[in-house]
């Protein structure tokens, strides 16, 4: 099992499709095997999220899934677009704030009339903002 001190993968999923992916890692070099494992864990956690959405009023769904030492925290917007964060350390408040701020940026992306729930987000400023927020709250 690949272990990093801070493994962070952030994904936005619209319907079934990942529309934005971001790998945030502190000082660790990329490992080939990690990518698909992370994707698998995140993808499998969508099942849990689908259930968790209906159990709470809030957007933040907290931890929804675990795979060994990898934890998935999730956040679902009212249009059921999901933000997933794969992490291996506990930081509940930071993650909650991170998601909340990302949501605001995502709404700005959504204001584009040509944006559909499955359009890939390729905006550079958005990417920079996500990385900045990750630095602020998660690392």
């Amino acid at each position: 099992m690949p272990r990093d001190s801070t493994t962070l993968t952030f994904v936005i999923v619209g319907e079934e499709t990942p529309i934005y992916e971001c790998e945030i890692k502190a000082g660790a070099k990329r490992e080939e095997t990690v990518n698909y494992l992370h994707e698998f864990v995140l993808h499998a956690s969508l099942d849990n999220i689908d259930e968790a959405i209906w159990t709470t009023q809030s957007c933040y769904l907290k931890q929804v899934d675990r795979y060994y030492d990898l934890t998935v925290s999730a956040y679902a917007t009212s249009s059921l677009v999901k933000f997933l964060l794969l992490h291996d350390s506990k930081n509940d408040d930071g993650i909650r704030n991170f998601f909340h701020d990302i949501h605001e940026y995502y709404i700005k992306i959504m204001l584009n009339p040509f944006h559909t729930p499955t359009t890939k987000i390729k905006s550079k400023p958005f990417d920079e903002k996500v990385k900045l927020l990750a630095q602020k709250y998660l690392l």
């Binding site: 079934e16 499709t17 990942p18 990518n35 698909y36 992370h38 994707e39 698998f40 864990v41 993808h43 499998a44 956690s45 969508l46 099942d47 849990n48 689908d50 259930e51």
Partner: protein, 1245 residues
């Protein structure tokens, strides 16, 4: 939920049946070697012969154990084992065996129908699996489960598998059966001393081989045995009684046995030994039981039934009662409990094994456990449960965890069998699990307890918790078991109320990985296929890539090359990988493809490399509109405007919606001619970072000679496709035009595109053009609507003519207003003659001369045939009877003239009709586009002024502006005359040359006087009569000049209503700094009358000086002419009133002195003092003139007479015109006459 509960119920039943099957009373079988040899004739051993009939149904045997009331057992399964195999194999042997069993398991058919690319197929498969009675258990899981249980039989801490009876089988052929039987019993007792006990039930079977000895003899032997061992203790079974039917052949025997024969372990044990299934007899014993007749089988069944009902059940009843009595006396009751409590600790622990106490058969714990097991077998679960509970306390206090776990496991099963509280059963199994864990050495038992627990949980409809149990069972590095457990867990996710497909996929992927690690590639490939079915939308790139990579590797291992090829094919779009990995993937793919396709073109792969944009294609074809190079790019508007002009309305008549036959309209078809090329623009993209070579790229077409229903794959006889090839650099995109031409009339459908990748792999993609759905779809018709340039369905008409127009020496750049000459060649490239050609161009910027028919291979010039064109309104038409034959060429000169600036597109349309008209294509139009860079030159502007002097004179105020920033222009003497006016420059330059020099960005102005030429004709605003000063200098042919003037006329904007238009031409020349040569051209403009507010113009002509002898005649009559000029664009009517000056007392300047009528009179008086006392004038003759219908540009002259009575200077202004437009009911306008002076002197002086 109802369905689920039913399923759970079914699961529980299944579980109960399974438990009953594996916990039935076990019997030891011992037989003489001859008996085995009899059975061998049918390919069986005696044990195996019995096994299929050991499940006894509806025995309906009364049982009374310890309770007062009896109950009846309906079904009972007994287990028979050869005495030599009744021991547990070692752990390593067990693992090897399991690995062997599963690797040799044939799984090909299991996931049949599941396609890695389709989620639907997966759902179908899973649904059918859930529907089936046996839940979601895959067959190899069931096999694993059975084998796993089998390997744990005969455990030392359990008494469940201890034999409760011994079946002694002897052969009838021996003369002294009784002594032989006794010897066999003795031998068995010695051989199996560990499981033998004196209370073991012994049953004797006399086996008779019908092929070997007499039946009567055997019956007598049986009588002898009965005498020796007891009447009920002996039975006879006869075998091999089948008489081969030589006439009809032997009917096939249903195969009852193969399922019961389990694989033996190399180290033996686990109730199974190796059987030579090929049959020792070797004759007809190729199938199992082939020599057994129905009677034989019946004898076996009746033996087993008698044995169970008459011997086994009563025996077990007795044992239970015995044990119960014994235990009650030692353990139950208050006294015994105390005794047990106090004295238990003092027990002898000398038998301890591995630090835990072991219990010999004489120990009370052993007996209690045995009682529990026996009553469990006899389905007295309450007794069994109380026994297990009783003994488990002992085990717990002794810290005998393994024994405790075993008893708790059985207690849990008891509750399940009693259909008791599920929660309680789970608690029991949970504590069994934790006990086994505390024991810690035998994890196989731990796993077994968890497996049972998961089954119980599934039966109670809690699959999620069952998954937890299964996952907990992955406790060591045994990859096979981990794989099986994960796979089962994955299936359980599907059982949830809302199936969790993603979890399913994840666990399947993990299972596949474990299978792969333990070398089970078949199962691994299956698991990966299921994962890919979930990920069929390829949304998650890394998962997609990794799974295809893994499945590719696995399928290569199992030599499923087509599947491997499909996987590697998907890897060709792994855009995330670095170039070297992509190259590796590509190489591997090509290697596989070489093996699978083997150069066979028919085996096309839906390759994704290069990526073909199948949704967007552009179809180039010629129906009644043809396009030359570049013309496609122009907007539709350009062409429709040209078409409107060039297509004669007559040919379109009958094509409006009223007359058209709507029923046969086929708007989904494109028209084209046979042997004409159809081009399809397709975009190919290389998504990888490696260079790829794409060869043999061509369209895949279907051809039908008849109608839309008869499409067949096209052959080279009907359709000719052009093959292209190209190389794509990393991440390069290219647009390729693929061409096809049809040789015969019929129908053509373009399906897709095919290519050869890197010289090895043949790929194909179908086009999938989006469009709205069509409502009524006939057979064979497309389902979607497409615009013509995206339609891929063609109706091919017989050969129709087609022309090619080539411009030669078309200038690249020119100046606005320049006249350039170039050549045009028109060739009939079609295979049919054509006629009735017409040509137009945008803004009439192209002027066509006469055509000269080029003679093939002829150098004699005077033999040329020339064809005059007729120009009407910019449409050049060739004579109707002129025919251009196939292959014939004609040439003409073209003059280009435009006043537009910038990059100007010169569009032209060539209309023609085939000589033999086709109903669906009566004509064709070729569209051509040429582009030219036009530099700015001279611009004329200005206004037209009416001369105050005469209505016959106009003044043109002309401003000449040089719009070019670099070049100096020289404007020639502008125009000498046109049809109606003579033109003269008023203020010519001092050097008296006719050339006006205009420097860059400068402007100059000149005035031109236009004098009307007599009374002939009137100004019609046309340029036809225009005569240029340098007409000959330009060297233009008259027809060209005519067209040029025409185009000038059309190019200038329309005059405003009511205004007047006056055309003017000017020629210029320059030495261009850009092109370094001389350019000359013509510029024209229409002058518009300024002052639309004054459409009527009135002038008076009168004698300048009059001398009259007032002495002779007191009245001087002065004749004047009043001209009324209509400068408007409409006809006018009106009245000219000459006011009588006498009555009007309007003696201008002759006011008597001192009349004092107003302040203004002071000045008048001072100015006109010499006119004092002058009498007034008056008009005489006809004083009112009426005009009707004064045409635009027309002058009316009225003769009037002024009467003067004294010499003097008279200012005459007493006349005015009242007028209105004749065609509109406008209000009256009034125009005061301009005053004029009459100077009359007396002749007497």
């Amino acid at each position: 939920m109802a369905v689920l509960s039913a399923r759970a119920h079914r699961t529980l039943q299944d579980l109960q049946e399974e438990v009953a099957e594996r916990t039935g009373p076990s019997c030891l079988v011992s037989c003489s070697p001859e008996v085995d040899s009899y059975c061998q004739k049918s390919g069986l051993s005696f044990v195996h012969l019995l096994r299929p009939f050991c499940q006894l149904k509806n025995v309906n045997a009364p049982v009374r154990t310890v309770g007062d009331s009896a109950y009846r057992i309906q079904d009972l399964t007994i287990r028979v084992y050869d005495g030599r195999t009744m021991y547990q194999p070692t752990v390593a042997q067990g693992d090897d065996h399991l690995a062997h069993v599963l690797s040799s398991y044939r799984v090909e058919k299991e996931i049949e129908g599941v396609d890695a690319g389709s989620e639907e197929s997966l759902r179908g498969y899973l649904n059918s699996k859930i529907e089936r009675a046996r839940e979601v258990k895959v067959p190899w899981w069931r096999k694993f489960r059975q084998e796993y249980d089998r390997l744990l039989l005969f455990g030392t801490h359990e008494t469940l598998d201890l034999p409760v009876a011994a079946i002694i089988a002897v052969n009838s052929s021996d003369p002294d059966v009784v002594s032989k039987t006794k010897a066999l019993v003795e031998r068995t007792r010695q051989e199996h001393a560990d499981v033998w006990n004196p209370n073991l039930l012994k049953h004797f079977v006399l086996v008779h081989d019908c092929q070997n000895g007499d039946m009567e003899m055997a019956k007598r032997q049986l009588e002898g045995m009965k005498l020796a061992f007891g009447k009920n203790e002996c039975h006879m079974v006869h075998l091999n009684g089948k008489v081969p039917d030589l006439l009809n052949g032997t009917p096939p025997i249903p195969d009852l046995w193969s399922e019961c024969i389990k694989e033996s372990l190399p180290g033996g044990g686990a109730g199974e030994f190796k059987v030579q299934t090929s049959g020792a007899g070797g004759d007809e014993g190729s199938t199992l039981g082939s020599l057994l007749s129905d009677e034989d089988i019946n004898s076996v069944i009746s033996f087993l039934k008698d044995f169970v009902v008459k011997r086994l059940i009563p025996h077990l009843e007795n044992r239970i009662r015995y044990f119960n009595h014994h235990i009650s006396s030692t353990r139950k009751g208050m006294r015994n409990q105390f005794k047990n409590y106090w004295f238990r600790k003092e027990k002898d622990n000398s038998l301890a094994v591995n630090g835990e106490p072991a219990y010999g058969p004489q120990s009370i714990e052993f007996q209690i456990r045995h009682l529990g097991d026996l009553s469990f077998m006899m389905k007295d679960f309450e007794l069994a449960l109380s026994s297990y509970r009783l003994v488990s306390n002992d085990f717990k206090s002794d810290k005998a965890w393994k024994n405790y776990g075993g008893s708790m496991e059985m207690a849990g099963l008891c509750i399940v069998m009693m259909k008791g509280s599920q929660r309680e059963a789970e608690t029991c199994l949970d504590s069994a699990f934790s006990a086994y864990q505390r024991h810690g050495k035998d994890w196989k038992l731990t796993v077994r307890s968890l497996l049972v627990l998961s089954e119980v949980l599934v039966a109670s409809d809690r699959p999620r918790e069952a998954i937890g149990a299964l996952k907990a069972a992955i406790i060591d590095n045994n990859h096979l078991r981990a794989a099986l457990l994960l796979e089962q867990a994955a299936y359980l996710y599907i059982l949830s109320p809302k199936p969790l497909f993603r979890k399913f996929a994840f666990h399947m992927a993990l299972a596949g990985r474990h299978y792969s690690t333990c070398g089970n590639h078949n199962l691994s490939a299956q698991a990966y296929t299921l994962v890919l079915a979930v990920h069929s939308k390829h949304n998650w790139p890394f998962i997609d890539e990794h799974m295809h990579f893994s499945l590719g590797k696995e399928s290569k291992q199992i030599e499923n090359t087509p599947l491997a090829l499909q996987c590697w094919m998907r890897l060709l779009v792994a855009i995330y990988q670095p170039a070297n990995v992509q190259q590796q993937y590509l190489d591997e793919f090509l290697k596989l493809s070489e093996a699978v396709q083997a150069g066979n073109k028919s085996n096309m792969l839906p390759l994704l490399l290069p990526n073909v944009d199948v949704e967007n294609v552009y179809v180039h074809f010629d129906d009644f509109r043809c396009f030359s190079a570049g013309a496609y790019a122009q907007s539709e508007q350009v062409w429709s405007r040209l078409d409107e002009r060039v297509i004669p309305p007559a040919i379109l008549s009958g094509q409006n919606w009223l007359q058209a036959d709507l029923s046969s309209s086929k708007d989904y078809l494109n028209l084209c001619g046979a042997q004409e090329e159809i081009g399809v623009d397709v975009e190919f993209a290389n998504v990888l970072q490696v260079t790829i070579k794409v060869q043999d790229v061509h369209l895949d077409c279907s051809y039908s000679a008849t109608d839309i229903k008869g499409f067949q794959s096209s052959s080279a006889e009907d359709v000719e496709v052009k093959h292209e090839q190209f190389t794509l650099l990393p991440l390069e995109k290219t647009l390729i035009r693929l061409r096809v031409s049809v040789k015969k009339p019929g129908m053509l459908r373009i399906n897709g595109v095919r290519w050869l990748l890197c010289g090895i792999a043949y790929g194909a993609q179908e086009f999938d053009i989006r469009g709205p759905k069509r409502k009524k779809v006939g057979e064979g018709e497309p389902h979607r609507d497409h615009p013509p340039h995206r339609r891929l369905l063609f109706e091919v008409l017989p050969t129709i003519p087609r022309i090619q127009a080539t411009f030669s020496e078309f200038p690249e750049n020119m100046y606005a207003g320049e006249i350039c000459k170039c050549g045009l060649t028109i060739e009939n490239t079609g295979a049919a003659p054509l006629h009735a050609m017409r040509i137009v161009s945008t803004n009439n910027s192209l002027i066509f001369g006469k055509f000269i028919l080029a003679q093939e291979e002829s150098l004699i010039d005077f033999d040329q045939q020339s064809v005059e064109t007729v120009n009407s309104g910019g449409v050049y038409s060739l004579p109707e009877d002129f025919t251009l034959n196939p292959g014939a060429k004609m040439q003409c000169s073209v003059w280009i003239y435009t006043t537009q600036v910038g990059n100007v597109g010169m569009h032209s349309a060539f209309y023609f009709q085939p000589k033999q008209s086709h109903a669906k294509m009566k004509f064709r139009v070729l569209h051509c586009t040429q582009h030219v860079q036009v530099f700015p030159s001279i611009q004329l502007s200005g206004e037209m002024l009416l001369s105050e002097v005469s209505t016959k004179q106009l003044v043109l105020h002309t401003k000449i502006r040089n719009c070019n920033t670099q070049d100096t222009f020289f404007v020639e003497k502008l125009v000498e005359s046109n049809g109606t006016h003579d033109l003269n420059v008023i203020c010519a330059r001092s050097d008296d040359s006719n050339t006006h020099r205009v420097n860059p960005k400068e402007q100059t102005a000149i005035f031109i006087e236009a004098d009307e030429k007599g009374a002939a004709g009137k100004l019609d605003g046309s340029m036809q009569g225009l005569n240029l000063a340098g007409e000959s200098m330009l060297g233009l042919e008259p027809c060209v000049l005519r067209s040029l003037k025409e185009s000038l006329r059309l190019s200038t904007p329309e005059a405003q209503a009511g205004g007047m238009k006056f055309p003017l031409l000017a020629s210029w020349h320059t030495n261009s700094r850009v092109t370094a040569r001389e350019h000359s051209g013509v510029i024209g403009m229409n002058f518009l009358m300024k002052g639309q507010d004054k459409p009527m113009h009135m002038t008076v002509s009168y004698p300048q000086r009059i001398v009259h002898n007032f002495g002779g005649d007191a009245v001087c009559m002065v004749p004047c002419t009043i001209s009324i000029f209509n400068a408007s664009q409409q006809s006018i009517q009106g009245t000219l009133n000459l006011d009588n000056a006498v009555h009007n007392t309007k003696p201008s300047w002759t006011m008597p002195k001192g009349s004092g009528q107003g302040p203004n009179d002071e000045s008048m008086e001072s100015e006109g003092s010499d006119l004092s006392g002058c009498p007034s004038y008056c008009w005489c003759g006809k004083l009112v003139h009426k005009f009707y219908d004064v045409q635009p540009w027309e002058t009316k002259e009225v003769a009037a007479t002024v009467c003067i009575f004294a010499p003097g200077c008279y200012e005459v202004d007493a006349f005015r015109l009242q007028w209105s437009f004749s065609n509109a009911n406008f209000s009256q306008n009034e125009l005061e006459g301009t005053k004029f002076c009459l100077n009359v002197s007396d002749g007497r002086l």
